[in-house]
């Protein structure tokens, strides 16, 4: 199912103008280096119409692995961005077939926890059900916040 193939390409190192647009980053972020060995399988991209690639950073805490999923910004800074994961269902009902919405908002990020056998887990935003997934992506929506930002 693709796990025997070459490993996912890591995101390219940000250039000097990276902070000006796209993903917000910490100014002193050290360059990516391949970890010696991992006890988890990385999240993969969700390939769906109108779904763009998420940016993922991996963390560890007391033997558990976590993934911080974030999205490129929208030019309209009042419109929601959605973090989606692969699913056998369509959640919410107004969503995209084969996806579950994990989170939605401005500056949206979602922290998932590694489960096992290449699957990650976390609660969804519609019913707070625990979801298991291997793929994530971002969708730029049109719903607007009521806040003045």
């Amino acid at each position: 199912d693709g796990y025997g193939a070459a490993s996912d390409p890591s995101y390219p190192a940000p250039g000097p103008s990276y902070g000006g647009g796209g993903y917000p980053i910490y100014s002193d972020e050290d360059s990516d280096s391949r970890e010696h060995r991992r006890d988890f399988r990385k999240l993969k991209d969700l390939h769906k119409t109108n779904v763009v690639d998420a940016r993922i950073r991996y963390y560890k805490h007391r033997g558990d692995y976590y993934a911080e999923i974030s999205c490129p910004r929208q030019s309209d800074n009042k419109k929601y961005t959605w973090i989606l994961a692969d699913s056998d269902e369509k959640i919410p009902s107004f969503g995209i077939d084969g996806t579950v919405a994990l989170a939605a908002g401005l500056n949206v990020r979602y922290v998932a926890k590694y489960s096992r056998h290449g699957k990650w887990s976390g609660r969804d935003m519609t019913n707070s059900d625990k979801q298991k997934f291997r793929r994530v992506g971002c969708h730029h929506g049109t719903f607007e916040t009521s806040l003045t930002v």
């Binding site: 805490h61 800074n77 908002g105 979602y110 916040t145 806040l147 003045t148």
Partner: protein
């Protein structure tokens, strides 16, 4: 090259007592701590890794206190640095996560919150902050990197009904 000790996948930290906190609405097996406690670090022997200093609750104006909710926190590590995930109690409600910043304001309708910055807003959102000494650094909604000491979740009434 030296891989930080906590990046060793075979490393198994010893079991630790959970910090005391009121049970969150969602029990997703993640270790949470609240404002009143900080989790004990199982890697205190590593000079690179530091515990997150606790964030206090942002003091909302009186007209908003009824919709202010305490945030919850969870620590993580990455390449020898410590981070904290800031999240809100319900996975299904809409919140604004607001923190302290002098000279900046956040508004909704007629209400303005002084000396505040919007970190993120939406449903089931997390904010990941980097712990540096006495301060926690986060990327705010406007893209600025800000150092914060207090944070709060504000429950909003609008929930998305379409993409």
């Amino acid at each position: 090259y030296g891989i930080p000790a906590n990046d060793d996948p075979s490393y198994s930290p010893p079991a630790n007592d959970n910090p005391s906190y009121s049970a969150p609405a969602n029990s997703d097996n993640r270790l949470y701590y609240d404002y009143s406690s900080r989790s004990s670090s199982s890697s205190s022997d590593s000079s690179e890794e530091r515990e997150c200093r606790k964030l206090r609750e942002f003091d909302l104006p009186s007209e908003l206190k009824s919709i202010g909710v305490k945030a919850k926190f969870s620590e993580m590590e990455r390449r020898g640095k410590t981070y904290t995930t800031i999240s809100c109690p319900s996975n299904t409600k809409t919140y604004a996560i607001i923190a302290d910043k002098s000279g900046s304001n956040v508004s909704q309708g007629d209400i303005t919150i002084q000396d505040a910055v919007l970190l993120a807003t939406g449903v089931n959102i997390d904010v990941v902050g980097r712990c540096r000494g006495r301060r926690t650094t986060v990327v705010a909604n406007n893209g600025d990197e800000v150092k914060i000491k207090t944070v709060v979740c504000v429950e909003l009434s609008t929930s998305p009904d379409k993409y």
